[in-house]
Symmetry: C2
Subunit: 190 residues, 2 copies
DNA sequence: GTCTATAATTCGATAGAC
DNA sequence: GTCTATCGAATTATAGAC
């Protein structure tokens, strides 16, 4: 694939990423992605042979983005507790988006979980990445076999915070819940 | 409306309720509801003049169901703490459904929150009912102004538990999280 | 009240010229 | 590689006979 082709492909993925997040996967049409990316509709099938394949590319892109985010976090923060704080802070940093559209990981999984099991399995890899990474931090804190559950529990609390604050468009609640998660992390070390 | 007409209307709502939960609102077509309810497709518009109106009827039906559930709970349990336990237990009682399709309140709000604000506002009334009721129980426990936040916090934890256990189809995690919520309720009274 | 037939639109996907 | 034109299927919704 040429440089131009790669640029076009990335532009499509970027436009689709935003639309799938804001409108949902099934409610986003190829025409809308075409308009948003500036690529004629008929030309899509040169880059992606189906809508499902486009979603898979979007998911891969989100996973790659998260991988870089976590690597950066590892470089900037040495303490496992600090690193777990940063995961909770993601919700506050992305508060505007979370309040309006919910968590991009959670809402996508919820949508695909209804009728598109295969696509959901891929979307779940976004959770895997985060759960595995948090589990490692809890392991480093000496939590042993309990680490997996603690990692899932932390993400569950954040998902619940994202859901309720999205339902009520309540920024204050989101911030209080994130603080609650941090207090819970503190309590684990005592 | 005749008795027959009312029966037909209820059959449509019941079929739509299940399909909207299992497949999502936007991914469910009138044809599917027609097949499931045994009512010919063209006859739908005698009972509901649009798909949105059908969803509103489904939401009203769910709210009514929840109202009865909470009334029954009030009759059977006098202690506010016991009553709050029962709200958490809903997830365990409905574990099969939650694992396969997520929380019917949460997933519907997440879907409608993307592009159908008006419908979402109605769906949010399901949360209102539950939050208000839990708030009353916390008030009865003497939690005062904090009660509203505690009610939202409890529901956020349950939503997170539903989301993660749905993502991973993990019944054990769901049960552990519900137990965690109950332990949190206990800790509030000490 | 009930049902058939179909309108009007939009969707994902394809064919084929350049 | 790029783009236009369009297909076939599915969708919500309507018209009108009975």
């Amino acid at each position: 694939m040429s440089t131009k082709g790669k640029q076009n492909r990335e532009r499509i993925v970027e436009a689709a990423d935003n639309l799938f997040y804001h409108k949902g996967f099934n409610q986003t049409s190829f025409s809308e992605v075409a308009d948003a990316s500036g690529i004629p509709k008929g030309n899509f099938y040169y880059y992606f042979k189906s809508k499902d394949e486009l979603l898979n590319a979007v998911i891969d892109s989100r996973i790659e983005l998260f991988r870089n985010l976590l690597s950066e976090c590892e470089a900037n923060y040495q303490q496992p507790l600090e690193r777990l704080y940063r995961v909770a802070d993601i919700l506050v940093n992305e508060a505007d988006n979370v309040l309006h559209h919910g968590c991009p990981m959670g809402t996508l999984n919820a949508e695909l979980g209804k009728t598109q099991e295969e696509l959901k399995a891929h979307a779940t890899q976004m959770f895997d990445l985060l759960v595995d990474w948090c589990e490692q931090q809890f392991m480093a804190l000496g939590k042993g076999e309990e680490s997996r559950f603690l990692a899932m529990h932390q993400l569950a609390m954040l998902q619940g915070a994202a859901m309720l604050s999205h339902v009520y468009n309540d920024r204050t609640f989101l911030e209080k819940e994130v603080q609650t998660v941090k207090s819970w992390l503190d309590s684990l070390l005592q």
